[in-house]
Symmetry: C2
Subunit: 367 residues, 2 copies
């Protein structure tokens, strides 16, 4: 493979080319195949799965996202036919694999919030924070809630519902039922996907990628940095369009506007933030390809975490609102779900504030 | 009346004595009698009353609070028997007169919040903010909600409920019913109070106060500033005990803890803030007596406003939670009340943050 060695000390002048990209893609493809093998060896078939199989699924998603992102950002360097064919397949795969974990995390987030809102300690907090006080004051021994134990997910240390109030307890049980069902379905779908001919075609493609990256004819002479810079520009443009002035004012009460709107769709105000989250990830992966990532950028990490939290809270709030539409629930249950929804929408607002703070910090510290 | 003229240029050395207090109390008593006359002339009997009678009731409360506070702060200067007898009567009077207005303001706050949460514009906001956009986009003409017009309170410009969602509309109607009933009862109670022999005894006492202040035997030699300073110390001590570090962290999620607690009593965490609100008022009135108040203290104003907002939001949140306990309400109504409760608890948290910011500002700017 041809390499440019015009100015080896100046990465931005074009020294980083197809070689770096090919190396990165091969490494990610190898990681993908390793994770796939691990997943098969560790019995991914059991609902919830073992810890090793959960790790393997996460690693599969992780490498799928990175390969897909690199094909997108560095498009001109790759065989266009192959690249256009494999990208939607990788998106399908990582999307399918992500759902089960998303439902599990959402349920855990909502149950933790219900505990917090009930003034009830969760078991770990009882142990760590309250200590002997809880031992005297707790109405009963801390144990895993029966409903959760019965759902057949021994791997999930879901918070105790034993000392929730009636409304909160019923809301928790309803969310547990609905999200556990969704999670079980997502698990089956993921298993079906991993056994499908569609997936085997993806795996075959990744196996090829692990040994030889299908580059375009102009790859050798196309420098990577301008393409990575374009990804960063798209991120910065999207951030500029965010309502950061409002987000920087604590308690702006923006996230709960339309909290009682009849519109059943997720809050449209969240969409630009979700978009920035994806663009931030593309930027981060492009830095990995260019090996800029060896310098850990705390700003990117903090900002990315805030946007993850934003997404999680947004979806948890929607799940609470959705559960409140279940027919024939008790008013106390609906009330608890309303409080929970508003709580998560304020988490959304808090996450935007955290993002604004993290991002502003960078702007200030850069000369 | 004996006066000290030891050091006329140094107020803190004792030059401000009984004379200043007597002058202040006479002025407040005169104001009380003027407001009482105005209230009777403007037909305070009608529910809701005319604007002039509402103003008169406010002025009555205003002077009652100031007289009562001064008797408390400068106790050693006043005839103890008289002072101990009149203070609880003034507290009874201002408390009784305050209730009607409190219910009215609470309802308005909750209906405004419901509109905000529904993404619906309130009439005034439509006029001022949205302008022509609202004229094209509004689903129907802005009008006063029928339920409110029927409650016989033409003086209340309550927000329109025409374009609320079903749950929010029902929650609004429920709150309107409950708080209008409470307000009507408070109005009757206030009218009964103003016609009672108990009130006439208070008015007689205030009439005496307007001409001659019953001072204690040691009044002439007791300087005011140390007593005012003691009131300020009590305020500062109470503020020091507040969780201001937490309050200064935006989105600390502290105010909604116990939001789903089974305890029907108001949040105990609010009590120290309510206490500071009262102590801040005592401090402000003591400054008025010493005529320090001629220098407008923006910090005291801002901090006081934050604590008023804290109290209002706290009570509005409790009213929403209370309404949710109404038997046989629809789940959608209960859900809307849950969202509303959480929204007002976040207002509580926002008010604490605002107080912390205002108070910290002073600490920093003082050398």
């Amino acid at each position: 493979m041809a390499q440019q060695h015009l100015e080896p000390t100046d990465a931005s002048a074009g020294a980083v080319t197809a070689d770096a990209l090919a190396g990165y893609l091969r490494a990610q493809a190898t990681e993908f195949l390793r994770a796939l093998r691990q997943h098969r060896e560790n019995g991914g078939a059991a609902a919830g799965g073992s810890e090793a199989s959960v790790d393997a699924a996460r690693a599969l998603r992780r490498s799928s996202r990175r390969i897909s992102a690199s094909l997108h950002t560095f498009r001109p360097l790759l065989d266009p036919d192959w690249s256009e064919r494999i990208r939607p397949e990788l998106a399908w795969l990582s999307g399918t694999l992500a759902l089960e974990h998303a439902y599990e995390a959402r349920l855990e987030r909502l149950l933790l919030a219900l505990h917090r809102l009930s003034g009830a300690m969760v078991p770990t907090q009882v142990d760590v924070v309250a200590g002997s006080r809880a031992a005297g004051a707790a109405p009963g021994p801390q144990k895993t809630a029966p409903a959760n134990a019965a759902s057949g997910n021994p791997g999930t240390p879901a918070p105790d519902r034993g000392n929730l109030t009636v409304g909160a307890a019923k809301a928790g049980a309803l969310l547990d039922r609905q999200l556990t069902l969704a999670r079980t379905r997502a698990h089956s779908t993921a298993l079906q996907a991993l056994g499908s001919s569609r997936f085997h075609a993806v795996a075959d493609n990744i196996a090829v990628l692990a040994s030889e990256v299908p580059l375009s004819q102009t790859a050798a002479t196309t420098p990577l940095p301008p393409l990575a810079a374009a990804a960063e520009d798209r991120l910065n443009d999207a951030i500029t369009a965010l309502p950061l002035v409002t987000a920087g004012h604590p308690y702006n009460a923006e996230a709960l506007i339309h909290g009682l709107s009849p519109d059943p769709s997720p809050h449209p105000q969240d969409a630009p933030w979700h978009q920035v989250r994806l663009l931030l990830r593309l930027h981060r992966y492009a830095r990995e390809v260019l090996q800029d990532a060896e310098i850990v950028d705390v700003r990117l990490l903090t900002a990315g975490e805030a946007l993850d939290r934003h997404r999680d809270a947004s979806e948890a709030a929607a799940a609470a609102a959705q559960a409140a539409r279940t027919p024939r629930i008790a008013p106390a249950t609906a009330y608890a779900l309303g409080v929970l929804h508003a709580d998560q929408r304020h988490e959304v607002e808090a996450a935007r504030f955290a993002f604004q703070q993290a991002w502003q910090k960078e702007t200030v510290s850069t000369p």
